[in-house]
Amino acid sequence: MLLTCFTACSKTVDLNLPFNGPQIAVVAHIDPAEGVRAFVSQTVAPTGEYLIEELKITNASVIVFDEEGNGTSVPQIRPGFYELPSLVVETGRRYRIEISATSLDTLRSEWVRIPNAVVEPVLESVIMLDERDFGFPNHEIDLFFSGIDPVGDTYYLTEVFLDRVNGIDPGYRFFADFDTRFCESENYNLQFFPDNCMQEDTFSYRYDPNINVINDEGTARVSMEEIVFALRSIDETYYSYLRDKLRLDGETGAILEARPSTTNVTGGVGVFLASNSFLEVVAVP
C-alpha cells in the first residue's frame, strides 16, 4: 500500500553510481549427473539498457581444475554457454573454475566440494489433468519424497524442467507453482527450497506443483510427454545464491535493503555452484 502511495511521488534520477569497468561474470554449475556448464558474460553499470548478445563473452578460456591440479578445458557450445556434460565429477571431491578473456581480469573461483548424493530417495508421483477453469488448464502433480538426509546436514533443491528446451516453441512459457502451506514465499517458480520450511528430522514431504506449458496469452496448452524432476543436494553457496534470487523476485524485496551478493569468485563476479542430483523423468499421461 505504501509503495503504491509513494509511487505517485517517485522520480528517476541519476545518482552517478560508481562503475569500475567491466569484469568477467560467470554462473557455473558442476554436478556428477550433468558435468559442468557455465554462462560467461561481462558486468555492466548498475543503470542503463544492455543487449545480452553484446554482453556474452565468446572467446573465453574456461578451465575446471580438480584438487590434484588437473585442468580440463570446457568448450563453448553456443555464444556465452560453455558446457562439458561428459566431465567426470566425483562426490566429495573439490573443484574450482578459472576463466580468462581478452582485456579482462582473470576470474578464479574458490574450491567447491561436491556434496553427498541424496540417499535412496523415493519419489512417488500422481499426475492428473486438472480441468478447473483458471483461464488455462493445469497439470497437477503430487510428489512424495522420502528417505532424504536430516535437515541441516545438506541443503536441498527441487527443480522441475522439460529436459531443457527441446521440442518446445520458444513462444511458450513453462512454469510450475509449488504450493505448500508454509513455504509459498519460498517458491522460485521452477525451484523449491525445502530447507526453509521443513523442521522435522527427516525430509518426507509432499508438494503439488501445478505445471503448465502455455502460450503467452494463456489460452493454449502444449502437450508434454515427459517432465524431469531433479532433487539436488547443493552446497551453501548455491543455496545462498538461490535465496538471493528469491528475495529479488519477492514483493517485499523491493522495500528491503540490498545485501551484498553471494559470490565465491575473485577477479570478477558470479558463482561456481556445486550440486549432486537425483533426476527422475516423469511421463505425462
Binding site: 534520477v13 555492466v44 548498475p46
Partner: protein, 770 residues
C-alpha cells in the same frame, strides 16, 4: 580508613550546610487552571539558589534565615514572577500567569537555571511553540517538532521517529506520564501518537542522564499530559486535514480534583464507511484516547492516567479472481498511577506504577478452491513497572534522591497462526519473559556559588530469558558544572547506560514490523558510554550553547543486510541479525537562540560522525550508519505581524542518508535473472536534503481563557524533491522472468528509482478552546 575519613568529612560538610539555611517547600501552579507546573524554576534571588519543580509541580529550596524571601519564578510559556514570600514551614502555593503573547522561544527562564546543566544536555521547549511549528499536512505535532532541535533528527522524511545523537529510535526511553511507549506513531510514522492538545510538557535528555532513568542508551523523552483544569470546565476542538481532536478538562472538586479527557481520530476513518460495501479498497482508522485524573491535597498529589493509541488498515482485493482481505493493526495501551507524598522535614516520596501493552497484528484472509485460509501474525509486549523514590534536601549544599525500580516484561516476538476449515496450525517464536531490578542514588551538591555536581549511580540487574541468565551493570552518572561568569557556564558529564531490549528494525520507516526482542546470550544487553563537554553563554535576549560529545556503544544489533521481517522464516530471530556491533559517534552541537522585539528564532548546527562495525558486514570494517549525517542545520524564525497574526518558518538542510545500491549487474542466462552486485553496505549517499516550511497563525486569546487558532501554511514551500528511499528496477526485454527454460532474454535494463514522499504540501488547521 581513608574512606571513613572522607565520609566523616563529607557528613560534617553536609551538617554545616544544614545549619546554615532553612528550606522552603512549595508548589507552583497555573493561575488560570490550577494545574501543577512541571519543570518551573524558582530562584532565591539573594543567593541565586535555584530549584526546579518536579513532575508534581513541587520544589524544595534552601533559603537564607530571613523572614522574607525574595523569589523569582519562571516557566516556559508563562510570565515570570518576582515576589517576596514570608517563610513558612508549610508548603507554599505559588501561581504563574500564562503568557498571553503569541508562542515564542524562551531565553530568560534558562538564565534562572543558573547554568546547572548544559543547555544542550536537557531540552525543554514550550509545547505551545512546538505545536505552532509547521508540519506535514499542518498537523500539530510537538514530538516531531523536536526534530528541529540540535542533536535530534528524523530518520526518513516526515516520520515521527526521534534519532537522538545518532542513536536509533529504540534507544530512546519514551515515557508518557511515566509509562513506556513502544513504536510511538500513527499512520506508519507520519504522526506521533499523542494528541497535541493534551501535552503539557516535554523534556528530552540527551546526555547527563539522571540515575533514576535507565534501560535505554541514547535518550529519555518525558511527555507529561495535562492534569485537568481545577477551576472551571474547558473544552477545545481542533480540525485539520488528517484528523479531528477534542479535549474536555475540568474540576471534579474545585481546586482539589480534576479530570482531563482527550481524543483524536482520523478523517480517513470515513473511508471505512465508504468501503463497507465495496469488493476492493483500502480503509484506514486511527484514534488515540487519554484520560487523566488528579487529586491534590496539602501533602499528596495523586494522578491516574490512561492512554490508548490504535491504528488499523484494511485492504480488500482480489488475486487471480480469489477474494483477499488483509488487515494490519497496532497500538499501545498504557496506564500509570503516580503518587507523591510529603513527609515533612524536607523528605518527599514519589511512587509510580505503570503498565504498557503494545501489539501489532497482521491478518490475511484468502479464499481458494480448497476453502478459506486465514493467516494471523501477532506480536506483543506487556510491560509492568514500579518505581519508588525518596528525595531529601539536607541543606543548601546537598540533596539526595534514591530509589528502587522493578519491571517485568513479556515479549511475544511473533506468533503465526494458519486457520483453515480443516486445521489450525501455530508457529511461534518463543515467548520471552524478563525482569529488571534497579536501585539508584543521586547526590546533588552545590559547592560555593560556582560549582554544581551531580553524582549518580544506578545498579541495574537484568534477569533475561534463557538458561537462568542474569546480567548486572553498575552505571555511574556524573555532571559537573562551573559557572565561569554570571553569563556563562562550563559543564562536563559522563554517563553509562545499558539496554535489555533490542529492536530489529527494517531501517526504513517506523512501521511496527520492527520487531522488539529481549537480549539474551547471543545478543547481550547493549551498553553505552557518553562523554560530553558543554559551554553556555546567555544574555537577556539571546543564548549561545555548544556541546561536544563522544558515544561508544557495544552489543548493538542490526538486521543482516536485506533481511526483513516479512522475509524471515527462521524460528530464531538471532539468525537474522548481526550481533556484537560496536558503534562510535562523535559530534558537536552549536545552538543560538534569540529574541528581538517581535522576532524570535534559533539556529542549530550539528557536525557528527556515526560509525558501526560488525564482524559479518563489510568484511568486518567500520562503516557509516544509514542516518550518519555529517552536517545538520536547522533555522527557525518567527515574527509577530501584530497581536493576532504570526508567521513562523523553518529551514532545514542536512547531508543525505546512506543507501546500499548495486555497483554493477550481470546476467544468469540459465534462469534469465539480472543479478545486482552489491559489494558494501551503505555504499551510496543521497544528495543534500533541504526544505523550507512556513505557517501563518492567527491566534485570538480572550481573558476568559477562550481562544481560536487558525493555521495555514505549507510544508516544503519550494517543492524540493528530497529523497526518502530508492528501489532498483530491473527489466527484461524479449524474455520472461521468473525463469523459464524457454526463450532467450534479449536485453536488460535497470533504473534506480528514488522516491520523494513530500513535495509542496499546503495545509489548513483550526483549533478552538471554549
Amino acid at each position: 580508613m581513608k574512606y571513613l575519613q572522607f565520609i566523616l568529612l563529607f557528613l560534617s560538610f553536609v551538617c554545616l550546610g544544614n545549619l546554615s539555611a532553612q528550606t522552603l517547600r512549595g508548589q507552583i501552579r497555573d493561575a488560570s487552571t490550577g494545574e501543577n507546573l512541571i519543570g518551573a524554576y524558582v530562584v532565591e534571588r539573594t543567593t541565586a539558589t535555584v530549584a526546579q519543580t518536579d513532575a508534581f509541580g513541587r520544589f524544595t529550596l534552601p533559603v537564607p534565615d530571613d523572614k522574607l524571601i525574595s523569589l523569582r519564578l519562571s516557566y516556559l510559556g508563562y510570565e515570570a514572577l518576582d515576589t517576596l514570600a514570608a517563610f513558612d514551614k508549610q508548603p507554599l502555593i505559588l501561581y504563574l500567569q500564562p503568557d498571553a503573547t503569541l508562542p515564542t522561544v524562551e531565553v530568560s527562564s534558562r538564565s534562572d537555571e543558573n547554568g546547572a546543566r548544559s543547555a544542550l544536555a536537557t531540552v525543554n521547549v514550550p509545547v505551545e511553540l512546538l505545536n505552532a511549528m509547521p508540519a506535514v499536512l499542518g498537523e500539530a505535532d510537538p514530538i516531531k517538532s523536536l526534530q528541529l532541535l540540535p542533536g535530534i533528527s528524523a530518520g526518513v522524511e516526515g516520520m515521527a521517529d526521534l534519532l537522538i545523537r545518532g542513536g536509533t529510535p529504540d534507544q530512546n526511553l519514551v515515557l508518557l506520564d511515566g509509562a513506556k511507549i513502544f513504536n510511538a506513531n500513527h499512520l506508519f510514522g507520519l504522526l506521533s501518537p499523542v494528541n497535541p492538545d493534551i501535552v503539557k510538557n516535554i523534556t528530552v535528555h540527551k546526555s547527563a542522564f539522571p540515575a533514576k532513568y535507565g534501560r535505554r542508551l541514547s535518550g529519555v523523552v518525558e511527555i507529561d499530559t495535562e492534569e485537568g483544569n481545577k477551576k472551571e470546565w474547558k473544552k477545545s476542538v481542533g480540525i485539520g486535514i488528517i484528523n479531528t481532536r477534542f479535549q474536555v478538562s475540568g474540576p471534579l472538586v474545585k481546586d482539589k480534583a480534576s479530570v482531563s479527557i482527550g481524543a483524536r481520530t482520523a478523517h480517513l476513518s470515513l473511508l471505512n464507511l465508504i468501503a463497507a460495501g465495496q469488493d476492493n479498497g483500502i480503509t484506514y482508522l486511527f484514534y488515540d484516547f487519554n484520560v487523566k485524573l488528579n487529586w491534590l491535597t496539602d501533602k499528596s498529589n495523586l494522578s491516574l492516567s490512561f492512554f490508548r493509541n490504535y491504528d488499523n488498515m484494511g485492504i480488500k482485493d482480489a488475486f487471480i479472481g480469489l477474494p483477499v482481505n488483509a488487515n494490519f493493526a497496532y497500538g499501545n495501551t498504557t496506564g500509570s498511577a503516580r503518587w507523591a507524598w510529603s513527609f515533612g522535614n524536607n523528605l518527599d516520596l514519589v511512587a509510580i506504577a505503570t503498565g504498557t501493552r503494545y501489539f501489532y497484528r497482521a491478518e490475511e484472509d484468502i479464499t481458494t478452491g480448497s476453502g478459506p485460509r486465514m493467516t494471523t501474525n501477532l506480536s506483543s509486549i506487556r510491560d509492568l513497572n514500579a518505581k519508588v523514590s525518596l528525595t531529601k534536601v539536607f541543606s543548601s549544599v546537598l540533596s539526595v534522591e534514591g530509589g528502587v525500580e522493578a519491571t517485568t516484561r513479556a515479549i511475544e516476538p511473533r506468533a503465526l497462526t494458519i486457520t483453515t476449515d480443516e486445521s489450525v496450525e501455530n508457529e511461534s517464536l518463543v515467548k520471552e519473559v524478563s525482569r529488571d531490578f534497579a536501585g539508584f542514588l543521586s547526590l546533588y551538591l552545590r559547592l560555593g556559588s560556582a560549582v554544581r555536581v551531580e553524582l549518580g549511580l544506578r545498579g541495574q540487574y537484568y534477569q533475561l530469558p534463557g538458561a537462568a541468565q542474569s546480567q548486572n551493570f553498575l552505571e555511574p552518572r556524573t555532571l559537573v558544572s562551573y559557572r565561569v561568569s554570571p553569563k556563562s557556564t562550563l559543564s562536563g558529564s559522563y554517563t553509562f547506560m545499558s539496554q535489555p531490549l533490542h529492536m530489529i528494525s527494517n531501517n526504513f520507516i517506523g512501521i511496527p514490523t520492527n520487531l522488539w526482542v529481549t537480549a539474551n546470550d547471543v545478543a547481550p544487553p547493549a551498553t553505552g558510554q557518553q562523554f560530553a563537554v558543554g559551554y553556555t553563554y546567555q544574555e537577556e535576549a539571546s543564548q549561545y550553547a555548544f556541546e561536544a560529545y563522544y558515544k561508544s556503544n557495544k552489543n548493538i544489533i542490526d538486521p543482516l543486510p536485506g533481511v526483513g521481517f516479512f522475509e524471515s522464516n527462521s524460528s530464531n530471530w538471532e539468525e537474522d541479525v548481526s550481533t556484537g556491533g560496536r558503534n562510535r559517534i562523535f559530534g558537536m552541537e552549536f545552538f543560538h537562540k534569540q529574541t528581538a522585539g517581535r522576532f524570535f528564532g534559533w539556529a542549530s548546527y550539528v557536525l557528527s560522525w556515526n560509525r558501526i562495525q560488525y564482524n559479518d558486514v563489510n568484511g568486518g570494517r567500520w562503516y557509516f550508519r544509514q542516518f550518519d549525517r555529517r552536517h545538520d542545520l536547522s533555522l527557525v524564525a518567527g515574527y509577530d505581524l501584530n497581536k493576532k497574526w504570526q508567521v513562523i518558518g523553518n529551514f532545514v538542510v542536512n547531508s543525505g542518508f546512506r543507501l546500499s545500491l548495486p555497483d554493477a549487474l550481470y546476467v544468469d542466462a540459465f534462469t534469465n535473472d539480472v543479478i545486482p552486485v552489491v559489494r558494501e553496505r551503505y555504499n551510496t549517499k543521497t544528495p543534500l536534503y533541504h526544505r523550507l516550511d512556513l505557517t501563518f497563525r492567527r491566534t485570538v486569546k480572550r481573558s476568559n481563557g477562550r481562544s481560536r487558532i487558525l493555521s495555514l501554511g505549507c510544508y516544503n514551500a519550494y517543492g524540493r524533491r528530497n529523497l526518502s528511499f530508492a528501489l532498483t528496477e530491473e527489466d527484461l526485454i524479449g524474455g520472461q522472468r521468473p525463469a523459464t527454460h524457454i526463450g532467450t532474454v534479449e536485453a536488460v535494463t535497470n533504473d534506480v528509482k528514488l522516491f520523494s514522499l513530500f513535495t509542496f504540501v499546503p495545509f489548513l488547521n483550526y483549533a478552538a478552546t471554549f
